[in-house]
Symmetry: C2
Subunit: 442 residues, 2 copies
């Protein structure tokens, strides 16, 4: 017989990642459907929707979590958010480490895929850093927020609210126990600052955090870290200015605030779309250009290997750099004295193309299945794809079919469209190249 | 002194193409503003808008051409359409040939850019073919349509209507002398078939036509011709089915027709968005999914070096093939036993990226300047970019600023965003490569 008979069935990293998320969603759905999870019965579809929304750290909800969920239900939600946010794979390795099992080459490869790391070495150490980092940051956040909220809510409720909102923020989930999300805190700069600091740190990417810890000067940073840090600063500043410019005279959002409150609410509204999804203004009365701008931010998202989703900020930057370098007849994009490899450019373009087509397809399908007006529906779809959770208020009006379709989209958005497509398309081993022929384009 | 002092100022092909279109639009604006061009005075903005719409073969209009334009005005419109459609450069060479001037290498290069041809040889012959072909097809169309319309309109008016609609159709302009465009002919299959045949032939690209004339079997066709012919057939069939599926139970569009009429109206509504822009149904009462699907078709457009615009069908096909080949870990896209060069892939991705960002930017700007609801406005912007001319009926509601912005967009859409960006960005001569560094994406 040929050597093929010796092959063992191996589970590929994309399958492991997708599979683990799928299992987590199924378990979450069952737990949320239990009578002890909610104060009033919910449908299986609604349980599936909220379990998916939590696991994919989206934050869209067909009911108000603060009133419908019991303490047990809230606990389930938080566990789903925490696992979904910092990643099942981290926990898988953490558990392995606790049991002092030796991590084989297969698991390392698996982690490598999960964190997009290039080298084997240091991956185990990276995971230790991640867990230490996540729980340190969350602990600091909980202490600070609890202390701040004690005068308003008392010790017990303050701790309760802080744990929920800090975990929701760090993991970019955007779930809130307040019925209006954070609108009642729209002029409370300390809460907004603390929560936005948490979701920006959580969403910038673990590899960036490790780099920042290990290397002290800008020159030492990797290109990825430079792009993420500078890109985040520039985009957040730009978004703040745009939101302020477009909404400062809208009395239904920030028009009635003082200038300082307007600027701070603009800042929060500019940074929250890149996956966090908390809202301090009512998106159903926002200006059309602001909504359109927000949709772009939701599509771009945060950092790779982070609690954020979207196509990722670096993907967007590489696509723009590649287009500019093409127009300047350069071979490869260059920035900060470094060149970007062709494979990275092609990968970024593939991610963007698949994502645009996916979002378009789901808007198309939902305009067929739903009777919701176009803009709120398109906004909802982009929000689900970017696992953002912002909404113009139509989540509760979705049909069962619409809810299931958004569940699929949140799953695709969190696992990453490339991961899923790698599963579906069989790789081809190429032995020769066909002759070239010209195609005229554009 | 260095050899640099010997350099002469040369006009680059992108500048020549943009410049000639710009001059044509200015002349057209002045002529349409003349009192003898219209039955009632029009504003400079409206004259600019319609001159731009005609030159870029868009077909959007802020007034009804059939009632507002005099015979002279109609003539101006037709000349602008004919020049804009088959290209100023073709005419420029034709005029040179009539004067028996020798065509220098500069002019040949100029034409090369205009027709995206790879080789110098045969370009002059190609231009002869084009003119022969255009006027033959238009003459046949005019004879057939005049003969068909004589019973309804009499000889003189039938000839008048036929000349206008045939030139408008072949050049994918979509202007009509009927106040409801072609809606009153929605159940007249012969008119619809003839006009759609004209705009499909005009929009498939001159290089394809030449290939079809010169090579008799499928195997002999170039890859470009194969992609265009198969792509056009598949996309037109697919679009017909989608439109029929989405609209057959919509009483305000095709719901009240017989099955045959429904199928034929679906066919026409499926093929007209790829630049022609004639309409047989009222787009303001169309279903949202059909409108969204139509927007994608308008964005894709027709063939390169044709009377059609959009990013071009081949650009779209290459982007899809490149994405699939990336997912299958192939080096280069392959189809019909041919490989597609990396530069063509990168060019297609650059065109698509710039086009998506341009369309998005103009929708954003128009949501700021206009008070028109989101979907009709987005539809209008995509229609202007693709120089299609379909509208949900909001063209007349645009502000002056909105009209000017759409003029700029029609210009970009017709000249091609790459052409303009090549003008703006200075090419960089690269002497060394920076070291590579990793960027994590997606
Ligand atoms: K979120
Ligand atoms: K047109």
């Amino acid at each position: 017989m040929s050597s093929g008979s010796k092959k063992r069935i191996k589970i590929s990293p994309p399958l492991l990642i997708s599979g683990s998320f799928f299992v987590l969603i199924v378990i979450g759905t069952i737990l949320l459907k239990l009578p002890l999870a909610t104060t009033a019965p919910i449908s299986w579809t609604d349980a599936l929707f909220v379990a998916t929304s939590a696991t994919t750290v989206t934050g869209l909800s067909v009911f108000d979590p603060g009133t419908v969920l019991t303490g047990f239900g809230e606990g389930v939600l938080l566990v789903l958010i925490q696992f979904g946010g910092i990643g099942l794979m981290t926990f898988a390795v953490a558990i392995l480490m606790m049991f002092k099992k030796k991590i084989g080459i297969q698991n390392r490869l698996y982690l490598q895929e999960a964190f997009s790391q290039n080298t084997f070495g240091g991956i185990i150490r990276l995971v230790k850093y991640i867990l230490l980092f996540v729980f340190s940051v969350e602990a600091i956040g909980i202490v600070l927020l609890t202390a701040y909220w004690i005068p308003d809510y008392g010790v017990k409720e303050s701790l309760h609210l802080s744990i929920f909102h800090v975990i929701s923020a760090f993991n970019n989930a955007g779930f809130s126990l307040f019925p209006d999300n954070l609108m009642s805190h729209q002029t409370d700069p300390l809460v907004l600052f603390l929560l936005s600091a948490l979701f920006i740190i959580g969403g910038i990417g673990f590899t960036v955090v490790v780099d920042l810890f290990q290397k002290k000067t800008f020159r030492q940073w990797s290109l990825h870290t430079k792009l993420m840090v500078i890109g985040t600063l520039v985009l957040n500043l730009f978004a703040t200015i745009i939101v302020f410019f477009l909404e400062h005279d809208n009395p239904e959002t920030i028009g009635g605030m003082s200038l300082f409150e307007q600027l701070f609410a603009s800042y929060f509204t500019g940074v929250t779309p890149r996956t966090a999804g908390f809202n301090v203004v009512d998106y159903s009365v926002m200006e059309d250009p602001t909504l359109l701008f927000t949709m772009i931010l939701m599509f771009i998202g945060g950092g790779s290997a982070s609690t954020a989703s979207g196509i990722k900020l670096t993907t967007f930057i590489v696509v723009v750099l590649a287009t500019v370098s093409f127009l300047r007849s350069e071979r490869e994009p260059e920035i900060f004295g470094r060149s970007i490899r062709l494979e990275i450019t092609l990968r970024s373009l593939a991610i963007t193309t698949i994502s645009v087509l996916t979002v378009w397809l789901f808007i198309f399908l939902l305009t067929i299945s739903e009777t919701i007006p176009f803009l709120p529906l398109a906004f909802e779809v982009v929000s689900a794809f970017g696992t953002v959770g912002l909404s113009m208020g139509v989540t509760g009006q979705l049909s069962d079919l619409g809810e299931v379709m958004l569940c699929i989209l949140m799953f695709i958005g969190r696992v990453g469209p490339l991961t899923l497509f790698f599963l579906l398309l069989k790789k081809k081993k190429q032995h020769f190249r066909y002759p070239y022929d010209q195609v005229f384009t554009g």
